[in-house]
């Protein structure tokens, strides 16, 4: 397929990006020949004042050799050295300078991790400044606009050889026994935290992993920032759900939230319940649910274990957002429902059983055999079976007609076998009710 060319009268050069007509797609994917190797064109970057004021780094004495009186001063000088940024578009350009910085960063990491008495007050602003200068940057647009985290290789951060050490330094700084939250909070403020959160959109999973642990520590230790962090995470999720459906760090943020929810005090605050209903439940509607479903389901179940009264909100919410066209998501939803039912209290089960089993009946009659199978396997769960048996009078009438009809109509023999097992279970539970329902079914059909 030729690159689309503009008419000769156009002054611009031909564009290399265009939408792929559906005829050129195979099974919905662009043909191999359509993919162009994306060339990273080396412009003079606004981030690197490289050409005009190139700073030459000179190696400083080692921290381990410095006399005690000079240690802090040397530490500060090394921090300042590490504020010099290098251009990684050409990864191996100015290797000497990059290596000096890398060695300095390594030393700083080692010093904070092993030495006591290093973190004195004057170092705090210098350390936070060095961290900020290195990590806070506008993330580049994705090289692959249709990046699928499950299929594609992520675009890795080019400056990772330095960035990784800066993150490592930040983490050790926060975890140091000498770390003083009261001092740090002057510099790790709301503006800092907001920029930190934006970095979660990085495509590099290593960066997100560091950010997750770092934010976890910041949230844990700086109490004054907690409400702000929760609010900003809400904003990120709401923007993700309702506006962009793009954000690479949803799973990592949910993991942090899981550790926060697990530590909620009782009774649950209204703010947290609102977060569950307005953010966590609607998060299930995202197309990319499979990427963060494990973390999201963990948060949901944690809420239930904290306060059983939220169960009804959760189940009704999931039923409201039940997938209508995506069977893959339907199977995910059923998996989550089983986990929820596995921890549900019987009194809560009674409140939701009717709408729930209507949906389960609909899933059983799904022509997609994996959906039907997943729903039928609920009867393999001993606890769920005990709940069903306890409420047989309500549940059996909801599912009987569907079970019988599907046993006669479904194309898949495994499904038919599973249904027979379920019908047998119901018959054993309450044979009189079973016979009554059979009689009602006949009457219904005669109408």
């Amino acid at each position: 397929m030729e690159t689309t060319k503009l008419p000769p009268s156009s002054p611009s050069s031909p564009t290399t990006s265009f939408s792929v007509p559906s005829a050129e797609k195979v099974d919905g994917f662009p043909r191999r020949s359509m993919r162009r190797a994306r060339q990273r064109r080396s412009h003079s970057s606004s981030q690197f004042r490289y050409q005009s004021s190139q700073v030459e780094l000179t190696p400083l004495p080692l921290l381990k050799d410095a006399p005690v009186a000079e240690l802090h001063d040397l530490f500060c000088k090394k921090l300042q050295q590490c504020c010099v940024l290098f251009d990684f578009l050409d990864c191996v350009a100015d290797l000497k300078g990059k290596e000096i910085k890398r060695a300095a960063l390594n030393e700083l990491v080692e010093s904070v991790a092993t030495s006591r008495g290093v973190l004195i007050e004057p170092l705090y602003p210098e350390a936070i400044k060095m961290i900020s200068v290195n990590i806070f940057r506008t993330l580049p647009p994705s090289e692959n606009p249709e990046f699928d985290p499950e299929e594609d290789e992520p675009t890795l951060e080019a400056s990772w050889p330095h960035l990784q050490l800066v993150y490592e330094f930040f983490l050790r700084f926060l975890e140091s026994p000498d770390f003083q939250p009261s001092m740090a909070k002057r510099y790790v403020d709301q503006k800092f935290v907001l920029q930190l959160l934006e970095l979660f959109d990085s495509e590099d999973p290593r960066e997100r992993e560091y950010l997750k642990t770092i934010l976890h520590r910041v949230y844990g230790k700086l109490l004054g920032l907690r409400a702000y962090i929760r609010k900003q995470i809400n904003n990120i999720f709401l923007r993700f759900i309702y506006e962009t459906e793009h954000f690479n760090g949803v799973a990592e943020l949910l993991e942090i939230l899981g550790s926060i929810i697990n530590g909620f005090a009782l009774p649950l605050k209204a703010e947290h319940k609102q977060f569950l209903v307005r953010v966590l439940i609607p998060l299930h509607t995202a197309k990319s649910l499979s990427i963060f479903h494990a973390q999201l389901a963990y948060c949901v179940v944690q809420f239930m274990e904290k306060d059983a009264t939220v169960t009804e909100y959760i189940i009704r919410g999931l039923l409201k957002y039940w997938p209508k066209t995506c069977t893959q998501k339907e199977v995910m939803f059923l998996g989550e429902i089983e986990e929820i039912l596995d921890v549900i209290e019987p009194s809560q089960f009674i409140r939701v059983q009717e709408p729930l089993f209507r949906q389960i009946a609909a899933c059983i009659s799904s022509p997609h055999f994996q959906v039907a199978e997943r729903a039928l396997y609920f009867w393999n769960n001993e606890y769920i079976l005990s709940l069903i048996e306890e409420n047989c009078q309500v549940i059996l009438p909801l599912v009987f007609a569907t079970l019988y009809r599907v046993s006669k109509e479904h194309w898949n023999q495994t499904i038919v076998s599973l249904i027979y097992n379920v019908l047998k279970t119901f018959m054993e539970m309450n044979s009189k009710l079973f016979d009554d329902l059979t009689a009602s079914y006949k009457v219904e059909k005669q109408k």
Partner: protein, 205 residues
């Protein structure tokens, strides 16, 4: 291992029978009565190591089609025809390898975080903001086909809910297999009676 939630599901359009693959292992179920001529096309999604291909398959029965599980590292190209990125498996890397990200290693999947207490907890005279135990903050969906161990009981226990289940279990196992066979017969009798009734009345199921 593949998770059910994350696996790509084989979807079939216009098909009257299906060969399907369960996550975690390849399992083939050949459905009787399948006519391959009914299949107008197969849409497959790549799963770990599963190589699928699209074909018309007009002359072969589905049960004769072989889908080989190829090792994902054998090929130089990804299924979409792009060059597969080589990840080096070693501990020491040269400068060039470091600066060109060839030493990339995926973050460990065994990630865990400590609980953060909303209200600080007192322990041994000190106020704790963060718990000491690290835990994985994700739900690992188990294989739903396998019976599962009951998680810890809620509240004061579930005497009411458990008793009926025990009765059912007791009924099932009290006479060994005879009880089971008897249930099968009873079920078949009831369902056949219903079916006969509907047939006689000229009613659809």
């Amino acid at each position: 291992m593949l998770q059910v939630a994350g696996s790509q599901i084989l979807q079939v359009s216009d098909v009257t029978g299906l060969r399907y693959y369960r996550s975690q292992k390849l399992r083939v179920s050949d459905v009787t009565g399948l006519r391959v001529s009914d299949i107008t096309g197969l849409r497959c999604y790549r799963s770990q190591g599963l190589r699928c291909y699209r074909s018309q398959m007009l002359q072969k029965r589905v049960s004769q089609i072989r889908i080989r599980r190829a090792s994902p590292r054998d090929t130089l190209l990804t299924p979409m025809g792009l060059p597969r990125v080589k990840r080096l498996k070693k501990k020491e890397f040269s400068l060039e390898e470091i600066y060109t990200n060839k030493n990339y290693k995926s973050p460990s999947t065994n990630r865990s975080l400590e609980t953060i207490f909303e209200e600080p907890r007192e322990k041994d005279g000190a106020l704790l903001l963060i718990g000491q135990q690290r835990r994985r903050r994700l739900l690992l969906f188990p294989d739903f086909t396998q019976p599962r161990k009951r998680k810890r009981q809620q509240g004061a226990g579930l005497p009411v809910a458990l008793v009926p289940r025990k009765r059912l279990a007791a009924r099932r196992h009290s006479n060994g297999g005879d009880e089971e066979a008897e249930s099968d017969v009873k079920l078949v009798q009831r369902l056949s009676a219903l079916e006969d009734f509907l047939t006689q009345q000229g009613l659809e199921v």
